[in-house]
Amino acid sequence: MGIFSFFYFATVIVLCAILVVAFRNPVYSVISLLVLFFHVAGLFVSLHAEFLAAVQIIVYAGAILVLYLFVVMLLNLKRDDSYQRQVWIGVGLGAAALGEVIYLIAKANMEPAAFVNRVSQVTSAAQEGNTEMVGRLLYTKYLFPFEVASLILLVAMIGAILLAKKALPEVRDK
């Protein structure tokens, strides 16, 4: 059962990823990215990371994608022309890198044995709940990065406002 869900999610994810890059119309790209996010969230659930799945949907699909859609609609972007001049080099590099990555992963031995014994630990912690587990770690061991993350968001907010606002007209004394 797990395998099939994995393969379903994986196939859709890959397909959507390629479509994001391939579509000429930006709105189509955004929509396929949305589909991709949903399936990634599904993948998270199958990995027992429910909290993250939820956060993924809320933040990525709900906020970031919406932001993109706003911009696309605001600029009324039409269909693109052609790809960049370096399209074939890019695709070639990607293919080469893919080959390298697959080779490296295949070469590395990752023992499944160690995994099997410990899988049960995660599932037995179902009484606690994934959210609670993440929360406990976040507020104890990773408290400082948590606070820094909030600062990052603050800075981003201020930066976005400053960068995007129009310049004030000069005050002239008449």
Binding site: V14, P26, A49, L52, I64, A97, V122, A160, L162, A164
Partner: protein
């Protein structure tokens, strides 16, 4: 039982697709979207490892990566808006003032 390597390959494919997208698209919005793809790929990787090593820290890291991604999108789009005012084009090739 899905082997870890399958998740890693999936993550690698998505990441490289995003990379290729950065390299071959001329529309700035699609460029930024491809970057989001890359970030997502790393998230998948982290969660997979977190599951297989039974260490929640991986998910905590995804949490932070998500935060940073959100911030980056906000600022990135703000910069794009500001650029658009000067040169009303979404073609990244037209922003080459740093040409040396």
């Amino acid at each position: 039982m899905v082997p870890l390597s399958y998740y890693m390959i999936l993550s690698g494919v998505v990441f490289l697709t995003g990379l290729v997208g950065v390299l071959i698209r001329r529309n700035i919005i699609i460029l930024l979207l491809s970057i989001e793809l890359m970030l997502n790929a790393t998230n998948i990787n982290f969660v997979a490892f977190s599951y297989y090593l039974h260490d929640i820290a991986g998910q905590v890291f995804v949490f932070f990566a998500l935060t940073v991604a959100a911030a980056e999108v906000a600022v990135g789009l703000a910069i794009f808006i500001a650029l658009y005012r000067g040169t009303p084009s979404v073609n990244v090739e037209e922003f080459n003032l740093m040409k040396g």
